[in-house]
């Protein structure tokens, strides 16, 4: 690259801390412990302080929604970048989890404490069952079919007038107070985030990643990839259903709008913006994108246009995402040297 100062090039140097904090050496000095812990602590403490820091009633609601979107984004990131199944129908999970929680609550009178885990697990089972026929599909085929699931489900609910039809199911119980709501949500979010990070680096996680890289070789290794894909879909849709169940209890209402496009597209956008394949990135992306989208709520569907455009711009021009960029900056520094 030629700049006006003569021929220079950019040099990227590793700070070397990452290597040194790799194994047992991580505890050799405070500096290195700090290097490892600070990013994690910032995230954890930040999430835990957030409900306390936000006093405005409207924005309190927004941060709960952000937490839900963060869950959905995690679900998308896991399935896309660690298993290689690009599911464009995140709203399907939300809808299934939401309706299930609503039914359990209104029909059986269970409290949110029970409906949420039941909806997450039961919903995940239902979603996995429905997606089972698509699992042998690869790439484009899978995306296309999953895109259609929420759309079709909404149509069926409308047409058959089941599950409350277009009115939805009303009268769902809310959380006792917002502290329970937000802290349980953020706690689960952190738990799932760190849990997933461990999972993908375990042996079973490597099998998932193997399926993404090269499913033929996994088959040739005597592994039934459909089983593992089903397991991954179960995990991923479980997160989506969990989000859906929370959503229903927060809004005290469940309806077709839970199958709306927002729940499919915002998680994808946050993943792309935050940096796919990092797991933290999508959470970060959700915390950036959702508040902006809330600010634009007054403009109606313009906000879908807005994040579609952001999504497109990021995927085409900055496909690595913010988190990958930040990680690189954290581990390396750059400088210009004369050639």
């Amino acid at each position: 690259m030629t700049l006006k100062g003569g021929d220079v090039r950019q040099e990227r140097i590793d700070r070397g801390i990452k290597v040194r904090t790799g194994g047992i050496y991580a505890v050799s000095s405070w500096k290195e412990i700090g290097y490892l812990l600070i990013p994690r602590l910032v995230l954890i403490v930040g999430l835990l302080i957030l409900p306390l820091a936000v006093t405005n009633l409207y924005w309190q609601r927004v941060i709960s929604i952000v937490g839900i979107y963060a869950l959905l984004s995690l679900s998308f990131d896991f399935l896309t970048h660690f298993v290689g199944l690009v599911s464009l129908g995140g709203a399907f999970y939300v809808g299934v989890g939401g309706y299930m929680a609503a039914i359990l609550n209104t029909k059986l009178g269970l409290s949110p404490l029970f409906t949420i885990p039941m909806a997450a697990l039961g919903g995940a089972a239902i979603c996995t069952l429905f997606l089972l026929p698509c699992l042998p599909l690869r790439g484009v085929y899978f995306s296309i079919v999953t895109l259609m699931y929420p759309l079709i489900t909404a149509r069926i609910i409308e047409a058959l007038n089941i599950l409350g039809g277009t009115d939805g199911i009303v009268g769902v119980a809310s959380f006792p107070n917002r502290w329970v709501e937000q802290y349980s949500l953020f706690g689960l979010l952190l738990l799932i985030l760190f849990g997933l990070r461990r999972l993908v680096n375990k042996d079973i996680g490597l099998v998932f990643r193997g399926i993404k890289d090269n499913d033929q070789a996994v088959k040739a290794s005597g592994i039934n990839i459909t089983h593992y894909k089903a397991a991954a879909v179960f995990i991923s849709s479980g997160m989506g259903c969990l989000g859906g169940a929370y959503l229903v209890h927060i809004y005290m209402w469940s309806g077709i709008s839970q199958l709306a496009l927002d729940f499919s597209i915002i998680p994808i956008a946050s993943t792309v913006i935050g940096g796919g394949g990092t797991l933290v990135g999508p959470v970060l992306g959700a915390f950036i994108l959702v508040p902006i989208s809330e600010l634009l709520r007054a403009f109606g569907t313009l906000r879908i246009v807005f994040y579609s455009l952001i999504l497109m711009a990021f995927i085409i021009f900055r496909s690595e995402g913010l988190m990958v960029y930040a990680q690189r900056k954290y581990h390396q520094f750059e400088r210009w040297v004369k050639v």
């Binding site: 042996d203 490597l206 090269n214 033929q216 070789a217 040739a220 290794s221 005597g222």
Partner: protein, 259 residues
């Protein structure tokens, strides 16, 4: 070399659209031998392997493994029985370090059942087993090569990695799809003892090769394919003397002779 048949291919045919890739190919594979499959480009060698290992459905014909019909079974079931394969176009998991590539076959039900390596289930174990296998196949244990990303490995190592992936399954049969191609003479020279050792360990090998000279050093028998049909089979020396084989390789004026 007269022992029992481990794998039998009976009149396999496969057509892709209008192209007859294989027509009525049959052969037997004896326990413990190395069988070479040769033939000019496009003679259906890889398709044959794909048919045997279940990656492609045969149009007609049957495959028996130890007298059991395995035709039409999915690839993972066939691999589970112990019939493994390498890929001609190498397919490592590029984003993983070389040794982590072996975690995946080691995670399979077969490796867990027959592995016999110290439980194999706990976290640390599998990694050490990976390095063991890689060392067996020619990666230096103490060098950094096993820890490199698979995407950064040269062809020679990738071929070995493919073999290692099969070995991790404790296979009975390995179908090698051109393990020698793309390697230098010295690399092949270092691969040959490896192949011989696998044979001594009791693994039956099928080798598809274009490098006839090297193949004939290890192969016990050779099957020759041409235009999807079996021309002949026999010991390497006899096959090389066969006029039809010479013609298939050197080309003949009148192709209709074969049909």
């Amino acid at each position: 070399m007269t022992s029992e048949t481990i794998l039998e291919v009976k009149e396999i045919s496969k057509a892709f659209g209008g192209i007859q890739a294989l027509s009525n190919v049959s052969f037997r594979l004896h326990q413990g031998e190395i069988l070479g499959i040769i033939g000019p480009n496009g003679s259906g060698k890889t398709t044959l392997i794909n048919c045997i290992t279940g990656f492609v459905h045969t149009s007609s014909g049957k495959v028996f493994f130890k007298q059991k019909d395995i035709t039409g079974q999915p690839p993972h079931k066939i691999a589970h029985l112990g019939v493994t394969r390498t890929f001609q176009v190498m397919r490592p998991y590029y984003s993983l370090p070389a040794y982590k590539n072996l975690i995946i076959p080691l995670f399979s039900p077969r490796a867990r059942k027959y592995g016999g390596w110290r439980g194999g289930g706990k976290l640390g174990d599998r990694n050490t087993v990976c390095i063991d296998i890689l060392e067996e196949i020619g990666f230096e244990r103490d060098s950094f090569v096993p820890y490199k990303l698979a995407s950064a490995l040269p062809t020679g190592y990738l071929k070995r990695l493919e073999l290692a992936r099969c070995l991790a399954l404790k296979p009975e049969v390995i179908l090698c799809d051109e393990v020698f191609s793309g390697l230098s003479a010295s690399e092949i020279a270092s691969m040959i003892p490896l192949i011989e050792r696998l044979q001594m360990e009791g693994i039956t090998l099928v080798m598809i090769e274009h490098r006839l000279k090297e193949l004939f050093r290890v192969a016990d028998r050779v099957v020759v394919l041409n235009f999807g049909q079996k021309l002949t089979e026999g010991i390497p020396e006899a096959v090389m003397e066969d006029e039809r084989v010479k013609e298939a390789y050197l080309g003949s004026e009148d192709l209709s002779d074969y049909v």
